[in-house]
């Protein structure tokens, strides 16, 4: 292949296979045993630890770090996984800088928190490398539960229900389970097929039947699911993608960032994946950063993120913004797209600077053009395929308490449900908590 970073248009193979391999290695390499011991020793074993309170799944962080420090990472993993069965993935993708590590007292003391995320990965990797599943399923209860969506929420819910002895059918619209862990996270955060390995490991608890190619509102109806099961959990995520609503949006090579990321995650050969020379990403969240950074790593010459509000409003964390900058991605804030220019394919995007006033965000008369061979839209996802009969709230399925929807016997969690941040770790917590509530309901008042 003779393409390079300078090849015009959208082209594959801009970098050598070796450069691609280097670019897509582990963003934060795993700690080795000694590094882990040293990192663990920095933990103060705080009373009523702030990090623990900051974790959506309330992992007992001081305890697991102490278990690492004393040479028992397997026990540490059990501590983690008992609260968060996707603790391996969360160790890789959690924005720890805004969760546990932000609240670490070492952050207050010296601006350098205990490396909780990397320690968690050390523990969970150690256990999973040994091929151990640390939990044993309870005796079958004879209860059947449908879990729709095999993303983090659905997987966590299914695992907890199976653990408690219920028979779970896990329905997934795509061809394989994993949800955003498999399709939506930057490749360098979960290298080596970790997402699938974790799903397989999780399913080894037993009692979970995965059925793929099952989409709500197409192959599945809530009515039928309720008839055939004792309870239903919906973890269907946000399948819709918001449009730019800018003129010319339909031109070729203007596409949803989530699709690009999914293609990249599923690509067998990164050299075969086409990417533009001039890439523009529109949005300010993690998806925008993931798409932009990976475009750069694939060999795009210029990559620019454009976000309509100020930098402080970007939902991508400061860490993510810095990561993008370190990879050579330019971030422009306070500008919104007004027109996508070009012929059949996109050639440029026209932006207008924005102003924030009392009546919200408005476009100013000041505009600029960015050359673009490829444009990724990352301005948010939306709920699709909500079954009739479920109330929604702010564009999400309305839930109360541990994920109870307005329909009896139907729970929801993860990105599709109201409440909480749209994070893997939040989805896990919601799936787990809904499972406990379903269990209590199914087993009667005596259940624990």
């Amino acid at each position: 292949m003779s393409n390079s970073m300078l090849t015009p248009g959208v082209a594959p193979g801009r970098l050598s296979p070796q450069a691609l391999a280097d670019n897509f290695t582990d963003l934060a390499p795993p700690l080795d045993r000694h590094e882990a011991r040293v990192a663990a020793d920095r933990c103060y074993f705080c009373h009523d630890a702030p990090c623990m309170a900051a974790c959506p799944t309330t992992i007992d962080i001081p305890l697991f770090i102490r278990q690492i420090a004393t040479g028992t990472p397997e026990a540490a993993a059990r501590t983690i996984l008992s609260q968060n069965i996707l603790g391996g993935m969360c160790a890789r993708v959690c924005p720890t800088e805004t969760l546990c590590e932000e609240d670490c007292v070492r952050e207050a003391a010296e601006g350098k928190p205990v490396e909780i995320g990397r320690l968690q990965r050390f523990a969970t990797d150690t256990l999973m490398a040994a091929g151990v599943h640390p939990f044993t399923r309870a005796a079958p209860t004879g209860k059947r539960v449908a879990v729709v969506g095999a993303g983090p929420a659905g997987l966590a819910c299914a695992h907890r229900l199976a653990l408690l002895g219920h028979a779970v059918t896990l329905y997934e619209a795509r061809a394989k389970a994993g949800g955003l862990n498999e399709f939506g996270i930057a490749a360098y955060k979960a290298v080596g097929g970790f997402a699938q390995a974790e799903v397989e490991w999780l399913l080894s608890i037993g009692g979970i039947t995965v059925v793929t190619g099952q989409r709500m509102g197409r192959e599945l109806t809530l009515e039928a699911l309720r008839k055939d099961h004792d309870a239903v959990f919906l973890g269907i995520g946000l399948a819709g993608v918001n449009a730019l609503r800018a003129e010319g949006e339909e031109r070729a090579h203007v596409r949803d960032a989530v699709d690009f990321i999914a293609d990249l995650r599923q690509a067998r050969d990164l050299a075969a994946l086409p990417v533009g020379r001039e890439v523009v990403v529109i949005g300010g969240g993690m998806t925008a950063v993931d798409a932009a950074v990976q475009s750069k790593l694939l060999g795009a010459e210029h990559v620019t993120i454009v976000y309509r509000r100020g930098r402080e409003k970007m939902s991508a964390s400061e860490y993510e913004q810095d990561l993008a900058a370190s990879k050579g991605v330019r971030i422009i804030t306070g500008a919104a797209p007004v027109r996508v220019l070009g012929g059949d394919t996109v050639e440029a995007v026209e932006f207008a600077y924005t102003a924030e006033g009392p009546e919200g965000l408005t476009l100013t008369a000041e505009t600029f053009l960015l050359r673009a061979d490829q444009v990724f839209k990352a301005i948010g996802q939306s709920l699709q395929g909500v079954p009739a009969g479920l109330a929604t709230e702010g564009g999400k399925i309305a839930v109360t308490g541990p994920g109870r929807t307005t329909a009896p016997g139907v729970w929801a969690g993860g990105d599709c449900a109201s409440g909480g941040d749209d994070l893997t770790v939040t989805a896990v917590a919601q799936g787990r908590d809904a499972a406990m509530d379903i269990h209590a309901g199914l087993m009667g008042a005596g259940a624990r």
Binding site: R37, D41, C46, H47, P50
Partner: protein, 432 residues
Amino acid sequence: MANLASDFVGIKSPNPFWLASAPPTDKEYNVRRAYEAGWGGVVWKTLGSEGPPVVNVNGPRYGAVWGADRRLLGLNNIELITDRPLEVNLREIKSVKRDYPDRALVISLMVPCDEESWKDILKRIEDTGADGVELNFGCPHGMAERGMGSAVGQVPEYIEMVTRWVKQYSRMPCIVKLTPNITDIRRPAEAAKRGGADAVSLINTINSITSVNLDAFSPEPMIDGKGTHGGYCGPAVKPIALNMVAEIARSPETRGLPISGIGGVTTWRDAAEFLALGAGNVQVCTAAMTYGFKVVQEMISGLSQYLDDKGMSLGDLIGRAVPNVTDWQYLNLNYVTKARIDPDLCIKCGRCYAACEDTSHQAILMKEGRVFEVNDAECVACNLCVDTCPVDGCITMEQLPKGAVDPRTGRVVGDYANWTTHPNNPSARAAE
């Protein structure tokens, strides 16, 4: 730069840092390197009687206790005295001393507990030019099984007897090295003094098992599946050594007996502490074995800076803290303090709270927003919060002024008063 020149029982050295008798001082090559690095003196590794030298094990001879980053906190060893021929050691000692006349060179000795053996060895070392002898009555492993080392050091009468022989057959200064593996360090020190010793040095290593191999179920270091007790040294033993040095320094029977302080000296600060508690110089081993001979340079610069900052000479420091080492019964019971937590320094870890709430006096309140405060009505000033706080200076002890009421006891803080006059003491004497 303060003058660190030291005169210990007439043995002069450019600084008070000597290498203790141990593996680092077993041969000419090492000792020359030590002197080049700046060590003021060396106690040559223990010589035995003429004849076939002792043999050492051929498996591991050291065991260790580590901190998290494998920082060596304690070391133990099962090495015996020198396993090189006597004449080789004597030849090397003579050669080194000739080339480094300004450095101290003391020879450590351990021979069977009979007059002839001691008389003979003393004669053999006479013309080496060495500055003195140190009697190894301390090694707790191996040689003790043969009636030497700590087997002698544990019997004050033997110490006195051998010391007497040494003083009788040699004009060299005689330092008696004491074992800590006894119940009261003052008894062997008194015996050495009675025997005519010029000084004592302490501590030798502490009998220990550093760890157990939980797969092979053997003590470490493990030799073919078995282990034995060894001598413990390094930073971990310093508190024990400091106490023993202080006990000898302040005991009426041994007061004034020169002491060479040994046990976990790792930095200038450790050395200064030994000196303040009455040691006339210090001997170092584990720090050198861990980091190499260069550590002495930090010890020299640090002690020098400290003395300059305090406007003190080396002599002023020696024994400076001894008058403040006392018995519990004389501690002032009217010295009342309360813990104070500096909210600006607090990082809100809550360790003080956990420690106080779970294991002490429930005197720390955890308030909204993880604000920690001391409840004076419960605080007994135990210092546990200070000791567990990870932030230096965040928790301090504040003294209640005379006349103040201690909210815990309701009593007014009065003048100095100790247990000897306390009403709860059945043998209290009325203050007159």
